[in-house]
Amino acid sequence: MSSYQSLDIKRRSATEFTPPAIRSTGLEVAKLIDVSKCIGCKACQSACLEWNNLKEDVGVNVGVYDNPHDLTPHSWTLMRFSEWDNPDTGNMEWLIRKDGCMHCEDPGCLKACPAPGAIVQYTNGIVDFISENCIGCAYCVKGCPFNIPRISAVDRKSYKCTLCSDRVAVGQGPACAKACPTAAIMFGSKTDMQEQAARRVEDLKSRGYANAGLYDPAGVGGTHVMYVLHHADKPEIYHGLPNDPKISPLVNAWKGGAKLLALGAIAFAAVGAFFHHTVVGPNKVSPTDEENAADLVEEAENGSPQPEPTRAG
């Protein structure tokens, strides 16, 4: 355990060995995004850029409110706007979802990452990218069930929301949650956020949203960024929020079976080479071979044709 760490590490990418934590794990934190209260003002985006000293280029309007059009190495959070015709009521509903890292309990990015310590999970649940260790291979992009990490063209490293780990480490909430003028983004312990969500879901149900619910998908072990959705039975209408997110089977195969097989093959080659060396021994050049070779050289130098050269043994 390093004494100079402000947050204890629970999991570390490409590392089997993680020092046991002596301190108690402390508070498990969560961010609750109440989609039903969001007005799409993008204060969270502004606050995120400012806190993290990031700048986004001035973009172009392509006819939608999403700005920028997708998550970028600079924009770690993004309001995604979806227009949905509700077949039950005939009304068009404007669904606005704050997209960004979900901080999964079982992080696909961390599992896929081959660079030791480039992705860590703290005991409070935050999944953080440690840029110094990132090799820019983009495996985390494949590993993420929510398509969140983005690779920077400047330094070829991967970036995403840190859940403001630097603020949380000193006992503050994330910048986006603090800024949100309608309290659609709340931050606290995971238990408190689940209770808050339960109150909101009850309220929404009393207002006619029978399928209101909490999005805390079990497929990735639950998340530390949760949504309150008015239509929790159809998360995909919220700009393609996955219904049952799971880590890609490719990641599990690559990091599980394929890795074992490859390591086995390498070990077999090493052990095989050792036994071949001890049992069979190195190839020796016999005196006959040397004589034949000398004859060949001599004939070549004399320029006399060699109709049928004898192959050295």
């Binding site: 590490i9 060995f17 400012e50 030791p116 440690i130 800024a179 390591l263 390498i266």
Partner: protein
């Protein structure tokens, strides 16, 4: 050296290399590598905090401006971050997207920092002193008021109206400033009076 490097030596070295990397792939590498500090250091720890009001709209959210340094003599203060003031009753720490990006407003190249004056007939602004600007405004207001002030209406009733000049007040004012502004404007007889927030 390289000339003496035989095929056999090459294979031997390569084999040793593979064996080494294989050990690394089995996960022994992490145990040796110290767990480096991961979390970005909190960047507001020793900044100077200054309370202010957001200059945008009439909601007048409270903000805290975080300045570089501790105001010691040889440190030039400079704003590095702005955030909502959690103790302010209006916004309780929250901010809108414009307020959350106030630092860009402060640091903008196009920000107006001095009184600027465009002479009649000129096509560009030039920097002037506050004394010049205030004298010029007072002079023009006085001239206009003297020329257009309406003391009585057509029925002879005293009205004291000054309808040819308007006043646009700022939003980021305290109640005291607002009261004073109101008294100054109304006592001059000005009728056209509005707040920036409605523009």
């Amino acid at each position: 050296m390289i000339g003496e490097f035989s095929r056999r030596q090459f294979l031997r070295t390569a084999g040793a290399g593979i064996a080494g990397t294989t050990l690394g792939a089995m996960g022994f590498g992490g145990a040796e590598q110290a767990l480096a500090q991961a979390v970005r250091p909190f960047r507001l720890a020793q900044t100077t905090e200054t309370r202010n009001t957001c200059p945008y709209c009439s909601v007048a959210c409270g903000i805290i401006m975080y300045g570089l340094g501790d105001r010691s003599r040889n440190t030039q203060a400079s704003l590095i971050h702005i955030e909502g003031d959690p103790d302010h009753p209006v916004n309780r720490g929250t901010l809108c997207p414009k307020g959350a990006a106030l630092l860009d407003f402060v640091k903008a190249d196009t920000r107006l920092k001095h009184p600027m004056y465009r002479k009649p007939g000129s096509d560009k602004f030039e920097r002037v002193t506050w004394d010049f600007a205030l004298d010029r405004i007072a002079r023009l207001m006085k001239d206009d008021r003297d020329a257009n002030f309406i003391e009585k209406n057509k029925d002879g009733v005293t009205v004291n109206r000054w309808t040819t000049t308007g006043f646009l007040a700022a939003s980021a004012t305290t109640n005291e400033t607002a009261t004073l502004t109101y008294k100054v404007v109304r006592s001059a007889g000005m009728l056209v009076f509005d707040n920036q927030a409605r523009v």
